[in-house]
Symmetry: C2
Subunit: 188 residues, 2 copies
DNA sequence: CTATACATGTAACTAGTTACATGATTTA
DNA sequence: TAAATCATGTAACTAGTTACATGTATAG
């Protein structure tokens, strides 16, 4: 699995505590990989056992102590190994698609409402991503290395959200027209 | 979770055995929801206990007997309930994105190869979907109800694959240019 | 005679979610 | 004084994957 590897990448970019990792997975890293703090703490424990990371207790003033994790040579070796290993392309799981297929069997109105909800969600995400793109990557042609890679992942997020948004619009348009036609049929 | 609901939708479209469901999840239904036969058998068992489906043994000639599952009124009620209930939009999980973020830390060449592999995969999927679109939905404007819903879900698949494909092209272009620049730097 | 399709399952393991648990400090 | 942020965890449950297990019929 890849949570270990996502953590290795994140810790290589910058060493940090479980809490900090959880925050990263809520923000930038979470754009393409979700993980809860429970999962992260459990995984970090396993990674220490495997000697992929080391842990250091760090006392802080005015804040609880924290444990800072750092990638070891073994962790870097594992990351290299995994980077070179082919990964299966994502298995798609769209609950919305299941609901659309089920719309004929129930109330299509509630499904339309659900699509509208998803549309808002994707529009909002897209807005956030576009804002980040404008703010942090104003001149994409000049980017190199790590910064380029961060930009390209963001581009993937933008494409995915834009794609979902466009699909929602296509869905709403088609389903509204279908409903209107059904109504016209009953009324005359 | 939605595997139960995906099965309810599929069985409402047409009653069938666990094996037949597994085949559907390999083909059309699998375009937006993956499930192995082990998962399906286990879930069907649970659904019988919950009285969402009934099971009938059917003897066959020249083939092993099969168990045909049918949705009950209780199953239909559950499906209606779920259709009306808001669902969280998909949590994205892109291993490819993790690898891209990790490319700076290892050999970017192997990551480029991986992207090329994913590109082929998405190009192939897109080809299949486009073929189905042409063959089964030649006149989309005339579609209504269930057939329209099937078409719209296929459209979602096409958009998703096209989006991934375009992203792969953007990635390959940017990473190749980055590598060429790096090479130019070293050579003078 | 070999592979594929048909047909149904169990067992063990890995991954992910939800609920619970604790406690300090800072900001409104 | 209430909420948010910082900080780390356990326990129980649900979902998903991999490996194992068995057997018939048909097509090449």
């Amino acid at each position: 699995m890849a949570l270990e590897h996502a953590i290795l990448v994140s810790l290589e970019e910058r060493a940090g505590s479980g809490y900090e990792l959880a925050r990263r997975f809520d923000r930038s890293f979470g754009f393409f990989w979700a993980a809860s703090h429970q999962q992260i703490y459990r995984t970090l424990k396993r990674m220490v056992e495997r000697d992929w990371v080391t842990v250091t207790d760090v006392a802080q003033e005015g804040r609880p102590d924290k444990k800072v994790y750092r990638v070891t040579d073994g962790g870097r070796a594992e990351l290299s190994r995994w980077l070179a290993e082919p990964t299966e392309p994502v298995t798609v799981r769209s609950e919305l698609a299941v609901k659309i297929r089920g719309a004929s069997l129930g109330d299509s109105g509630v499904v339309i409402e659900e699509i509208a909800r998803h549309r808002s969600h994707h529009a909002e995400r897209l807005g956030v991503y576009r804002m980040i793109e404008k703010r942090d990557f104003a001149d994409p042609d000049s980017l190199r290395g790590q910064r380029l890679h961060q930009y390209l992942v963001l581009r993937g997020g933008i494409r995915a959200e834009q794609g979902q948004l466009d699909w929602c619009d296509e869905l709403l348009d088609a389903l509204h027209r279908d409903r209107a036609r059904g109504k016209a049929d009953t009324e005359g």
